[in-house]
Symmetry: C2
Subunit: 425 residues, 2 copies
Amino acid sequence: MVIVGAGFGGLMAAPGLARAPVDVLVIDRHNYHLFQPLLYQVATAALSPADIAEPIRAVLRRQRNTTVLLDEVIGVDRAARAVETRSGRPQRYDWLILATGSRYNYFSHDDWPSLAPGLKSLDDATLIRRRALLAFEEAEAASEPALRQRLLTFVLVGGGPTGVEMAGALAELAHATLSRDFRNINPQTARIILVEAGPRVLAGFPEKLSAFAVHSLERMGVEVLLGTPIEAIDDHGVTAKGRRLEAANIIWCAGVEASPVAQWLDLPAAKGGRVQVAPDLSVPGHPDIFVVGDAALVAGPGGEPLPGLAPVAKQQGRYVGELIARRARGDTMPPPFRYRDQGALATIGRHSAIADFGWIRLTGFVAWVIWGIAHIFFLIGFRNRASVFLNWIWAWATYGRGARLITGEVTTLAPESGLNRPHDA
Amino acid sequence: MVIVGAGFGGLMAAPGLARAPVDVLVIDRHNYHLFQPLLYQVATAALSPADIAEPIRAVLRRQRNTTVLLDEVIGVDRAARAVETRSGRPQRYDWLILATGSRYNYFSHDDWPSLAPGLKSLDDATLIRRRALLAFEEAEAASEPALRQRLLTFVLVGGGPTGVEMAGALAELAHATLSRDFRNINPQTARIILVEAGPRVLAGFPEKLSAFAVHSLERMGVEVLLGTPIEAIDDHGVTAKGRRLEAANIIWCAGVEASPVAQWLDLPAAKGGRVQVAPDLSVPGHPDIFVVGDAALVAGPGGEPLPGLAPVAKQQGRYVGELIARRARGDTMPPPFRYRDQGALATIGRHSAIADFGWIRLTGFVAWVIWGIAHIFFLIGFRNRASVFLNWIWAWATYGRGARLITGEVTTLAPESGLNRPHDA
């Protein structure tokens, strides 16, 4: 059987199959499992890529019936019961779990992805880190005040968890970490602007918590613009609700859509490109194909669709893994999938987070400590946990950020700033 | 005054100038100081880039008379007393310290750099890491035995410290870390071949220690070919002394040459492209220009040129910084520069290193422990020290390597292996 994608959903499907009479093939286009909830900390130089990524092979090493393959799935051939891959080698399946997640949705603006990079992969994170750090360097070298201010302005498009976390982390980077490192500019004058089209940030949380987040961000110096849809993006800034914001760094934290699973399966895509699945998470009419995680549309207890969050993907992956193991053994079927809501957390910055456990809602320092403990706990790998913990303690004590590196191909954000540096010779 | 390059030489020149009546400008084309002696551990997935790099601004933050500029120096205009930069903004100097280090020398083979990447920068290291890890992935996917063996063969060109350390680290990666992670290949069958044109490895050490290193490498499964000059390199392997070695990964660890300082100064280049300097490390005829580190040719106590090693650069940088501070204050001149040899260390692998302190020579476990302590001690930054220490303890206990990530643009090593993966969408 084949599992496509080693994110939270795919990886959690594997353990249940470890002792089942099946051969498991896990295909992913990266060689690592990525702990996406902390990706924004890589983008803002607090953590290194390796701190939040674990080789898939290392995770599944002891599961002897499981093989890992680095390849990219590009389609499903249901007649041949095989997935099609970038390498041209189809992989046959008897059972198939599609756990391919989601990707950014730029709403058909083809030029926006390059102007406003999103934050989904490690390469995205190091690109955003490079561009953010480079902006301060170019501003330090620039002499024209308007150019300087443009270089020191960051626009975050979208007030979901990623937008809020990025805004808080960038504010800390500019206002604390870098504050004494420059001579010609004052990084504390950097503007961090969070632009949200809807009426509030963190729409998945209760209204009171959203309001707390805005208050908390504003205290950190972030400008929050609500009810402000983005109309245009160019390489000098954005236009939002008729208002012009000059900015060298625009980061896309807005809508996502499911990976093209519906297209692969020749099915109509539901809201957000997702695939409507049966109560056992199989694809209607194809009891041997399952979709879990962000790409699956599953109704929650209240009838509304479950959100694209890690706990949802993990519970679905675990459920399907066990279901297939039971079928392979000839056991009885489990009851339909039911999501157990364990609460939601979002962090805003140093000493500030929000938590909603249904029966209790927390804000501020207590929520921040719970957030930290939960994220260390859910990280895979002892080394990663220890390293993230060490980095956080150090950052907390010193306001430092351990990964302030401009690496990779370096290009300028503003040609007129004079810095136009080629790749290393 | 201007310091070009924030490697060991440039960075050590700064503290002596902290209280001198001068304005100091440090120019580097990267935003970080790189601890090059551990770069091979990044290339072999043991450490993350941020573990061995520290932002130059953070290092010099408290030195109020010092400004840091991200830019690349491309020449010196002695008439105008200014350095020319990539950005087009010349920077005037009254005193100038050139600490620009060295780069790989491919002896006029223009196609070799892309076929056999060298290990000088962080981007080099992540490129080599990517290619090495990708070779195992492609071998796992390949079915043809000859292709598999080519993908699992690594040729290291040059038996200096980098070649020896890379060979040992790659042997550990293949034979220990990855040994249980694959199903179709046995990483223990990977061949690591160290090819040296001269009669022995680590030519800077006494012969007995070189022999120990070869013995130690061979016990780790490395093939050492001495007296074997490379004649040709192509994308399928190398030809060395008439012998064909099929290899997907060829890594250049051979000769280096000085950065083009002699050319900038319109001076004849001495051996290795270096600039012959006066006893006070100034450029003859230009008492206001100093060259330190790999780019300077300075005679040691026995008359032979001092090697291009970190301790040499550091002592020279410190000497020139203090000399300029004295001159600026109108103090007496210091005596000519004299190198204090504190011994040399090279590591081969787990539990094995060599140390030469002149009065005592050590091999094996004791030398390995000294090597580890010395490298932790010389790292800049508490966070880096703690992180490297943590990673080493973990690697020692588990044979794991914490940074096994294939990141950046991924291309195939062998198109016929089928893996030909484009950039992330």
